[in-house]
């Protein structure tokens, strides 16, 4: 075995702290094998990719069962309506249709997401609508048929008598519009005023500069490549309904099903096979998944539902539709003195289980200050109900918006004070020597490289000639601009942090189990649930390093509620920190067992035994060595040779519950605008990011690139639109403009490494940063490109039409698309 790579050197307290120091350390690490046998930091190709690229992955729709019925949901054609009657007779007469189920047939089940706060109004989400529908595409009935075609024929034939009502479709009219839920005052589901600093009004009144601005972001679809879907079947051996589902959170889905259907959790088993992306859309429980489980349990027959793209865009979960009204006080040097924010989130018609509709306003109000020092702070966060689909915690969860707010404020203050906007940022960023820093909203930030990442980004793009390129483009008549965004991203929210939200179920910790078999191969079982992040590779790197084996000898078992202890799944950039640390701790216990066996067999002291390169060796005794496979064989098959009282088997459990750790980054982007069409093109993109110790650079880079792409999409392309009646106008990928590779430029990535202080590996979470930083950077760049017009844009997406109307000059004589 020659593939053992490089070792991670956690930065010692006296190590160079400047950005070049860290970058240099990292390059040195990639360059040299120091013989310590660590896989941390190695660009191990993803184990998952072979089967994915060959088309031999196993997604929900690849799982087939004899005699399965296929489901099609009958959905509301109205944004808001009363359901007078449902006639299923014609539908049941269609060839191939076996059953049509309505709410009444299932005893009117519902999901209830709970937040234990007085300011929260709990509302139930019926699995199938009963007397009213609250958004277009809300499920009203389900047709079960022999094939998906007959099921859709049946769904068309269900006759529902509706009385349409006026729909509420935007934040501004919602408070005075009809109630989305009966008795819901002002259509407000959550209204929280947090961190109300009584000095703030004085600060705002007295400050040399007060910036007032409003910001908005459009409703988005998370758009995983695989939509939702599930296959439910009854297993008579265990008296269980077994649900294969495309989910990020198998245990929470199990809890949702059990609670909605009044079942013990033991009678439900959820298995997530390969999952083709989630981005938060699949970290909540869908009505459809519970209905399919209920149907299979009732009929004792397998039932499958695979969401199509139209359903994915109109009937699943959305996110990110927010509005901010902000006042910020600055001194004459650009230092932020105080910040007041009124935050409204259009959360749609229901609270999704289990995170509730408060997830966006809570995140926004708590984390708005971000990477900046805000001495006096107040935030009001509201969740406003509308006749649109409910929202899920889509990648970034309010942080793309709050970073956009803070980054635009820095630019506005700099413009007003005639200062360099990067210098204004430097004066406000939490900096070296101030960590750990506790901010106005009570958050404690572990050490990061906020200033350093900005310095390095500026240096990199200056040396690469971005500014001269921008100026040359402008001289040629092409509007061009450079934008920055600085941000930190809290990741790996542990139980104490999650508990501050006061959800009915508090996620946070996780567990892992590691077992070595008699041939020295390892199985890791985790409660996290990778769905594209490469966990099979990165968890193997972590565990292989601790056990001295090759990552190919380590397999990950995830996504099965009957295999793992209650696990919280994969969301919120938690898995490598919480799940990976759990696996590492379990592996350390197994490694200790292996060392004890080796010490016994080699008659040496346990503390002198090291595990690496597939063998146990002894410090100071060259030649004394046993293969790890031999130790495993001994543990299982020759246990009689071990000292009396030795434990049996080679396995252990580990857990982790860190308080949350902050990654950070600086994004820089160069854009051009076509003066004749207004189309903005992203031309260059740089990410200087710090997610602590990088387990696998390939995986981190992939996450960053995908995230940045989604952030660029939010800034320039994507929006879910509803008309005044609540009809969706973005029901296909012709109208919902997800960018493709043709629209995205190469993304350059530089890593800094400030290790997480709470975990042994030093990794921080990093699943969302790309999406969080990109909208602000792109919006700042667009504003820089339009600086000569005097127009300032504070909304996303910025559409070509917006840009063209800002360009007051005559139509272009130069440039193309």
């Amino acid at each position: 075995m020659t593939r053992f790579a490089v070792k991670a050197t956690l930065r010692a307290t006296n190590a160079p702290t400047g950005p070049l120091g860290r970058t240099g350390a990292r390059m040195a690490r990639e360059a040299k094998l120091d013989g310590h046998g660590t896989w941390i930091g190695a660009s191990v190709p993803r184990k998952e990719d072979g089967r994915m690229l060959r088309g031999s992955g196993r997604f929900v729709d690849d799982v087939e069962r004899y005699g399965a019925l296929h489901a099609a949901f009958v959905r509301s054609p109205y944004g808001s309506a009363t359901v007078n009657s449902i006639d299923v007779a014609a539908a049941t007469g269609i060839p191939g249709v076996h059953h049509v189920l309505t709410a009444a047939d299932l005893d009117n089940p519902y999901l209830l997401a709970v937040l234990e706060r007085d300011e929260f109004v709990p509302t139930t989400m019926p699995l199938l609508a009963e007397s009213e529908v609250r958004h277009a595409a809300e499920p009203v009935a389900v047709v079960l048929a022999e094939d998906p075609y007959a099921a859709e024929d049946g769904a068309e034939a269900v006759e529902i008598d509706f009385t349409p009502r006026q729909a509420v479709t935007d934040l501004d009219t919602a408070p005075t519009g009809p109630n989305v839920h009966s008795g819901l005052a002002d259509n407000c589901l959550v209204d929280l005023t947090m961190f109300d600093d009584d000095r703030l009004d004085g600060v705002l009144a007295d400050a040399p500069l007060t910036v007032e601005a409003e910001f908005s972001s459009a409703r988005l679809a998370a758009l995983p490549m695989e939509g939702r879907g599930c296959l439910a079947e009854w297993d008579d051996r265990d008296g269980q309904v077994v649900l294969h589902a495309s989910t990020q959170v198998p245990h929470q889905l199990r809890s949702g099903i059990a609670q909605a259907l009044g079942l013990p959790e033991s009678t439900v088993r959820v298995i997530a096979p390969d999952v083709g992306g989630g981005f938060g859309l699949k970290c909540v429980v869908g009505r459809e998944e519970v209905v399919i489980a209920a149907a299979a349990a009732r009929l004792r027959r397998p039932v499958k539902w695979v969401e199509d793209r139209q359903e994915n865009l109109t009937a699943s979960f959305h996110g990110h539709e927010q509005h901010y009204a902000v006042r910020a006080a600055f001194d004459t040097t650009g230092r932020l003195l105080g910040l007041a924010a009124d935050i409204r989130c259009d959360v749609g018609a229901y609270s999704a289980f289990p995170f509730t509709c408060a997830v966006e306003p809570l995140m926004a109000a708590t984390e708005l200050p971000g990477a900046y020092k805000v001495p006096a702070y107040r935030a009001r966060g509201r969740a406003i109900a509308t006749n649109k689909p409910p929202t899920a915690p889509y990648r970034g969860v309010s942080r793309p918006q709050i970073v956009l707010v803070m980054e635009r404020l820095m630019e506005k203050a700099a413009a007003a004070l005639d200062l360099d906007p990067l210098e204004v940022r430097r004066r406000n960023l939490i900096s070296e020597g101030e960590f750990p820093y506790t901010g106005a909203s009570g958050i404690t930030y572990d050490e990061g490289s906020y200033r350093e990442s900005l310095d390095l980004a500026e240096k990199t793009v200056t040396e690469a000639g971005w500014y001269s390129e921008r100026d040359e483009l402008r001289a040629a008549g092409i509007p061009a601009g450079i934008g920055f965004s600085c941000f930190s991203e809290r990741t790996a929210y542990g139980t104490p942090i999650m508990a501050q939200r006061r959800m009915g179920m508090t996620p946070g910790y996780d567990t892992a189990h590691v077992r070595m078999d008699p041939t020295g191969e390892v199985i890791v079982t985790t409660g996290t649930c990778g769905h594209g992040q490469g966990h099979e590779t990165t968890f193997a790197q972590i565990v292989a390093t601790r056990l001295g084996v090759h990552p190919d000898q380590v397999r990950l078992r995830q996504g099965d509620t009957d295999l793992a202890a209650y696990g919280w799944g994969t969301f919120g950039s938690r898995s490598i920190v919480i799940g990976g640390t759990s696996a590492r701790r379990a592996a350390d216990d197994v490694a200790a067992q292996l060392r004890r066996i080796a010490a016994h067999l080699l008659e040496v002291d346990e503390s002198d035994v090291r595990l690496m390169h597939g063998a146990a060796t002894v410090r100071g005794v060259p030649g004394a060595s046993l293969e790890i496979a031999e130790l495993a064989r001994t543990a299982y098959f020759r246990a009689h040779t071990l000292p009396e009282g030795s434990e049996h088997g080679l396995e252990a459990r580990g857990s982790a519950d860190p308080p949350g750790t902050f990654s950070n980054a600086c994004h820089t982007v160069l854009v051009t605008a076509d003066p004749g069409t207004g189309a903005v093109r992203v031309r260059r993109y740089l990410v200087v990011e710090d997610c602590g110790v990088v387990i696998n650079p390939l995986v981190v880079d992939g996450q960053v690139r995908g995230g940045v792409t989604q952030g660029i999409a939010a800034a320039l392309y994507e929006r879910i639109r509803y008309d005044g009646d609540g009809q969706p106008n973005s029901a296909t990928l012709m109208d919902y403009l997800a960018p493709t590779a043709s629209e995205i430029c190469p993304i350059q990535i530089t890593h800094l490494e400030t290790p997480c202080p709470y975990t042994e590996d030093g990794a921080k979470g990093m699943g969302e940063g790309g999406t969080i930083g990109a909208p602000a950077a792109v919006l700042n760049a667009v504003n820089d490109a339009l600086a000569h017009t005097g127009v300032a844009m504070d909304h996303i997406p910025v559409r070509p039409e917006d840009v063209l109307s800002s360009l007051s000059r005559p139509l272009a004589t130069v440039g193309g698309t």
Binding site: L737, E743, T817
Partner: protein
């Protein structure tokens, strides 16, 4: 997104296809590549009772140049047009092909299918009108040729009878100075606005011009911009003036891809750019 039930018929030659269309009646549709029809069926926006698959009909995949002009067989794929060697006067066709969808779409979609579908932003529909092509149809009453300028009747409606099929598109005259350009936010999307132009320049002066816009009307819109063009110097000022005149003479609709006012500005830009490209081609 599953189509409603339909019957499937495979035609082995044009005659069989026409017989099938005659026999199956008004609700039958020809499948000639399926790049537009199949998605519309999946959305159940189109619900043909029967499909007549002509993709295996031999002899309809060609680009041929003779005394009557350039003939393109109905089953010629967009990709084949893109990569074809065509006589000088017809180079606008392969150049425009890059705007048609994405590579996989160009490899499956067909020229005749696109004309029959009649999307008002379709590159081939615009060029057929621009270059005054003839649409050659075969039906139970024989063969006829309909001028492209009379063929498109509004969104997805054409002069073809339900029992007729397109067999060929004939481009009668060379257009050495012609260009098509368009705008969509994403490469490969249907154009928000498209402009196809053709130009004659004599001694540095524009002596004749023709202009067709897509995305502003339910069918390709022929715009008379002679006033800004004919007799004027062949230069940027003229092209910009033509763009402005075109923008003034249209009243495009608004939708999620852009307001009517934005489409007018796009038209001005694209017409100007198309003439610039045509003048230098």
């Amino acid at each position: 997104m599953k189509p409603a039930a339909f019957t499937y018929h495979r035609a082995h030659d044009v005659r069989e296809a026409v017989e099938l269309l005659t026999e199956l009646g008004d609700e039958a549709k020809i499948l000639a590549g399926g790049q537009s029809l199949a998605p519309m069926m999946n959305f159940r926006l189109a619900r043909p009772s029967a499909l007549v698959d002509i993709t295996r009909v031999p002899g309809l995949d060609y680009l041929r140049h003779d005394a009557d002009g350039l003939r393109i067989g109905a089953l010629t794929t967009h990709r084949a047009v893109e990569t074809a060697g065509v006589p000088d006067g017809f180079r606008v066709l392969p150049r425009a092909a890059r705007w048609v969808g994405h590579y996989p779409i160009r490899c499956r979609g067909t020229f005749g299918g696109s004309i029959a579908h009649g999307d008002p932003t379709s590159e081939w529909c615009l060029l057929a009108v621009l270059l005054e092509a003839g649409i050659v149809l075969r039906g139970p009453r024989g063969r006829r040729e309909v001028p492209a300028t009379e063929f498109f009747h509004g969104f997805f409606a054409t002069a073809a009878e339900p029992d007729e099929m397109i067999v060929e598109i004939r481009f009668p005259g060379a257009a050495p100075r012609a260009a098509l350009t368009e705008f969509a936010q994403r490469q490969g999307d249907f154009a928000v606005v498209a402009a196809a132009v053709s130009l004659t320049i004599e001694d540095g002066v524009c002596s004749a011009a023709r202009l067709v816009l897509g995305g502003v009307d339910p069918q390709p819109a022929v715009v008379d911009a002679d006033q800004a063009l004919v007799g004027r110097s062949a230069n940027e000022t003229t092209w910009r003036a033509a763009g402005e005149l075109a923008a003034e003479s249209i009243d495009p609709p608004s939708d999620g891809h852009g307001s009517g006012a934005y489409r007018k500005r796009l038209a001005a830009t694209l017409v100007s750019r198309a003439f610039t490209e045509a003048a230098t081609s």
